[in-house]
């Protein structure tokens, strides 16, 4: 199947060409790479131990040669905490998006493809998740499940699939009307086969762009949950850092080195995902193709 690979490469090549020309997309990619490297390699260079508390004078010590970004509310190095937070924030963002993507895609395709009563019921069910206030719903689920990092991932995944399901369903409805679906049925293909072999691959590109935007939202959600105290204290994410910054009054005592960097990091990562999602949408969404 060498040729198939060649085709994949060719398609990927075309995609990369368009991508490289997309300024926002490239900015996003570079930013994301930066954060990915930070998350993967950072802890090797500047390991962080959440239990590495300082003494009285270390608490909120401003930036110094030793601690470039100063020290936090427990006298730990902010830079190291930031680096270790990258790992948490990114994994939460990516994993919860995965859950939401799988659930949303599955429900969207099944609802859109099946139509009729199944569709109506599934979509009403989806609506419920769209109309329930999202943040409190997450807070409640987090309270129900307890705030371990895995639960946070689950909670974000479980509350964010509805949007994806809608997008996927809408897309499925248009793909379903394409003749190649009819053709597949004519040669005797079953529903499962059609959904996985024909609908999914054609729905996926748009889902993909959407997914990246969902990751952005997931990271913000994690930050918000943590900020409101529903995070995992043992795995301090940027949101958790902000929570502690705020709880310990970093803003009012002027410890900007503890308040700004995690916030900026969140903005950076989310922005990189947003830019990427925007760029993929530009490239993959046929509606946005230039005339």
């Amino acid at each position: 199947m060498k040729e198939t690979h060649a085709i994949r490469r060719r398609k990927a090549g075309q995609f990369m060409d368009s991508f490289r020309k997309n300024r926002m997309g490239m900015t996003g990619a570079i930013m994301l790479c930066f954060f990915l490297i930070m998350a993967v390699a950072g802890p090797l260079l500047l390991p962080y131990n959440a239990m590495d508390f300082g003494v009285a004078d270390d608490v909120f010590a401003p930036p110094s040669r030793e601690h470039i970004l100063g020290q936090d509310d427990m006298g730990r190095d902010v830079l190291r905490a930031l680096i270790s937070g990258a790992r948490i924030s990114l994994s939460v963002g990516i994993l919860s998006t995965l859950i939401s993507m799988v659930a949303g895609t599955f429900l969207g395709i099944v609802a859109g493809y099946s139509g009729g009563k199944i569709d109506v019921l599934m979509m009403r069910f989806t609506d419920v998740f769209l109309v329930l206030p999202w943040l409190p719903l997450m807070l409640i689920l987090a309270a129900v499940l307890g705030s371990s990092i895995w639960n946070i991932i689950l909670v974000i995944g479980l509350t964010s699939w509805a949007g994806t399901a809608r997008v996927v369903r809408a897309q499925t409805l248009t793909v379903k009307e394409r003749q190649f679906i009819e053709r597949a049925r004519a040669i005797g293909a079953g529903n499962g086969y059609i959904m996985t072999r024909h609908i999914l691959p054609n729905v996926f590109p748009l889902v993909f762009a959407n997914t990246i935007l969902v990751s952005a939202v997931a990271i913000i959600s994690e930050t918000t949950l943590s900020f409101l105290g529903m995070g995992d204290t043992l795995h301090p994410s940027w949101g958790m850092m902000l929570h502690y910054a705020f709880e310990s009054g970093a803003a009012s005592i002027g410890a900007y080195w503890f308040l700004l960097p995690p916030g900026l990091c969140v903005v950076g990562v989310v922005l990189s995902f947003t830019f990427l999602g925007y760029a993929f949408d530009e490239i993959l969404n046929p509606k946005l193709k230039k005339r």
Binding site: R183, A186, I187, G188, A189, G190, Y193, N202
Partner: protein, 335 residues
């Protein structure tokens, strides 16, 4: 001639998307009578054309014959046996014997699949092959039949890397790969540029000649039907108005609708002062069919009886059936 496919009193009705209240509270559903009592027989090696305006029910007949659309009533015999409906074993066998070619080669091929997978898909779906080498072999064979040579050059192409004609050939190859006996070709050339139509039509005729495949050729272009088919049926609002050999239909049609169709058909000659029979108005709503002959509101020679009684399809001359109370030749057409 032995008939391969035979439909009698075929009805296909669709639920009209009525009002919401009706849908919930009422049993009296309005219906779109897309196919409303159609009888056709298609002989072995015959090209049978179904001609009619948009919405007349041509595609629905084609799909019903392939069990892709649920028939409301009537019988469909394939090789003398009622066609299976479910997804059982006999249904599988039937699917392999009866195939379909679609109108739009841009739409009917999955844009993300390569030719090898598209053409080989019927084999995979029906578990007819074991190895990918076998698949490749059979695909190459089918591409050859469809006139895509050298085959290897096409195997790994994506649909958008093919011209329209090539795409339609790929679709045909995919239909041929299972050695079908009967193919429904639903407007296979209407989306193609005139300059390549002929190739596809010729290919179909060639396959009939070589492999003895029977076709139901669906088209809105009477001249194409005339060109390649043995017999033609003219459809109007779910019913067949006239059936006969190509020559009879074009040369001595008896139904005013057929005659009108022929008279307005564009021809590659100067026809500026041709006498045309242009029907007034538009095709009625298939949900609210007119009483009597369904053509009566537009008929140029309508009589009282036409508004009361629906004419049956009746043989006027051998092999020429018409559904009209007053079948006769009007003086129209011919430049």
């Amino acid at each position: 001639m032995k008939s391969v496919m035979e439909a009698s009193a075929l009805h296909v009705h669709f639920k009209a998307r009525g009002s919401f209240i009706q849908e919930i509270f009422s049993n009296h559903q309005k219906k779109v009578k897309a196919v409303d009592g159609v009888n056709i027989q298609i002989g072995e090696g015959e090209i049978f054309s179904l001609v009619g305006e948009s919405g007349s029910g041509k595609t629905t007949v084609g799909k019903a014959l392939l069990a892709l659309e649920h028939k409301t009533s009537g019988s469909i015999l394939f090789n003398g046996e009622e066609i299976p409906s479910g997804t059982g074993k006999s249904s599988r066998r039937f699917r392999q014997k009866a195939q379909m070619i679609f109108q739009d080669p841009y739409q009917s091929l999955n844009p993300r699949d390569i030719v090898l997978d598209i053409v080989g898909e019927p084999l995979v779906v029906n578990n007819l092959i074991k190895t990918s080498a076998e698949k490749r072999e059979r695909v190459i064979e089918a591409l050859g039949w469809a006139g895509l040579r050298p085959q290897e050059e096409y195997l790994y192409r994506l649909p958008h890397e093919l011209s329209g004609g090539q795409r339609q050939r790929v679709a045909i190859a995919a239909a041929l790969i299972l050695n079908p006996q009967f193919i429904v070709a639903d407007e296979p050339v209407s989306m193609l540029d005139v300059s390549i139509r002929a190739d596809i039509l010729r290919l179909m005729v060639e396959m009939r000649d070589r492999l003895g495949i029977s076709y139901l050729f669906i088209t809105h272009d009477l001249s194409l039907a005339w060109l390649i088919s043995d017999r033609i049926a003219i459809m109007y609002l779910g019913k067949i108005m006239e059936i006969g050999s190509s020559e009879l239909i074009v040369g001595s049609s008896l139904h005013p609708y057929t005659q009108a169709l022929i008279s307005v058909m564009p021809l590659p000659r100067v026809t500026k002062n041709k006498k045309r029979l242009i029907l007034k108005g538009e095709t009625p709503d298939p949900i609210d069919l007119p009483v009597g002959c369904r053509f009566n509101p537009r008929c140029p020679v309508v009589q009282d009886i036409c508004r009361r009684q629906e004419p049956e399809l009746a043989e006027v001359t051998p092999g020429h059936q018409v559904a009209c109370h007053f079948p006769k030749k009007l003086l129209v057409g011919a430049p």
